[in-house]
Symmetry: C2
Subunit: 338 residues, 2 copies
Amino acid sequence: MPLKEKNLIRHIRRASQRSAAVTSTGAGVARTGIGIGIGIKTGIGDDCAVLSLPPGHELLVTTDFSLENVHFRRDWHAPELIGWRCLTRGLSDIAAMGGNPHAAFLSLALAGDVPQKWVDGFFKGLLDLSKKFNVPLAGGDTAQSPSGIQADIVVVGSIPKGQAVLRSGAKAGDAIYVTGRMGGAAAALEEFMESTKTKPSSGKNAGYFRPMPRLIAGQELRQQKVASAMIDLSDGLSTDLEHICEESGVGAEIEADAIPRAQFGPGNQLVPLDLALNGGDDYELLFTSSKQVASKLGGVPVTRIGRITKSLGMRLIGADGKSRKLKAAGWEHFAAKP
Amino acid sequence: MPLKEKNLIRHIRRASQRSAAVTSTGAGVARTGIGIGIGIKTGIGDDCAVLSLPPGHELLVTTDFSLENVHFRRDWHAPELIGWRCLTRGLSDIAAMGGNPHAAFLSLALAGDVPQKWVDGFFKGLLDLSKKFNVPLAGGDTAQSPSGIQADIVVVGSIPKGQAVLRSGAKAGDAIYVTGRMGGAAAALEEFMESTKTKPSSGKNAGYFRPMPRLIAGQELRQQKVASAMIDLSDGLSTDLEHICEESGVGAEIEADAIPRAQFGPGNQLVPLDLALNGGDDYELLFTSSKQVASKLGGVPVTRIGRITKSLGMRLIGADGKSRKLKAAGWEHFAAKP
């Protein structure tokens, strides 16, 4: 049995205060340079949280579900990884605007059969990441769920006025870039689906379930005014690239050989192209640019994978030089998965 | 079957744009004087929403679940009323700070068996209220739910710097006031629980399921600097008063006869005292004050129901003048309930 609502809130409030001082004088000590500049005047325990934004900045808001048996499975993913990934989803959206995250809010519904140990593990993972980027948990809601676990993470951040990197700015002729490598989380998930073991996520591929939001890379791109459009890779490269194309009114051409594929398994082999193109939960950044781009951003390698075209639709150029139509085949959250 | 995720988002985006212009020049035409002053630079369709806050203001953030079979039942509550009440929960929290709501964000998970007609009704109710207070739907998330309907509403608002009315400001000697009348929603719910009819919520008591967030009353109290502490009545008078007492480090004494009880049923009789004290979902405001208070705020009657005491704990003074211990017995969202 989880704690009763009031006790749970008290528990969260204490855990959150230990992890990142939510005080009347503002957020705690910065560990990464991220998350500075906002004051949390009132955190957990009032009708609303009260926050002050840095002057000359606009507000960023994003919300993301993490639902049991849709985004995670209790028998596959350790609770720490579910909590970590829950917050990653929100921070990664802030990264994709080039923004600075300031505070997180969690709505959490738990069925009566969820052990308090699971809840503690979930908060440990979430608060580990919240500490890393100095983004305190400043509020939320709790409820009893009729069945399973439903979490909704809200992250608020800020960005200097007018500087948000949108999905809609890509121009024909821009090159397309990604940070990091694609397909690792999907490959790990595929292995678990074929495995008979439970709790495989604590094993050697656990890293793919503890993705690092690319906040520093996103901020560097915004500061250097290099990116014309940007999105985070949460639903899969093909699907997220299609969002950029649709919002910008352009097409795209990707070189299959150029896509940086994750390494996986005992022989460290590259994941299949299909997983790199269509697997979700990478939480890397995809951006477009007409300018010179550094080979590393925030310590993460950057790779050119194609170009934006005037003609609509997406095309994939194979190793043989032949071009074929590329369909968005990423994760559809309205199909049961994982 | 509901629409697929992408189509659903497109559908919501259009409905939301029709209801309250989310444009690059800012929010739509004000209907009530509420919700003016913020610009939504980027709404639905990017990684984050981008909003600008009025200068000299602080940010307010609140999140609230509306879960099927916890906060509502599909066979009891019409979808329009569920959508309306989902947003009321968030707006009422902004009201309880004395704040100005600016934008709403909805995370919505739907099981495969939820008809699109239900979804349309839900959005109609939510957007009717969003229009009324000029609070556009500016983003959110959608997902397939393994079973049932889970909604999480986020409302962001603003308040002039340092003027938020907190729960923690009540002082011994302050009088305790409420807006409106208590217990109507609980009485209507009780009737439905005893009834064999389905969809009773479209009947004559439907008004209790379409509560009006007390935004104007809350703002008047903040502007007049009258309230020392404030909370909205969502979990029941006894539970919400206890929150004020705990956050302020004080006690309270309530006069049973003074509590304004809702009228209900064919004879318009007053609801039982128990429902007025402990029934949830009234969405009225409870506040404390040492000053003179108007008899109406935002057009809503205001009633003095007791006083804040130095000695901790809550007491109820009966019609016979005898005082007894008052226990917080409001809605516990960790107990199964509709």
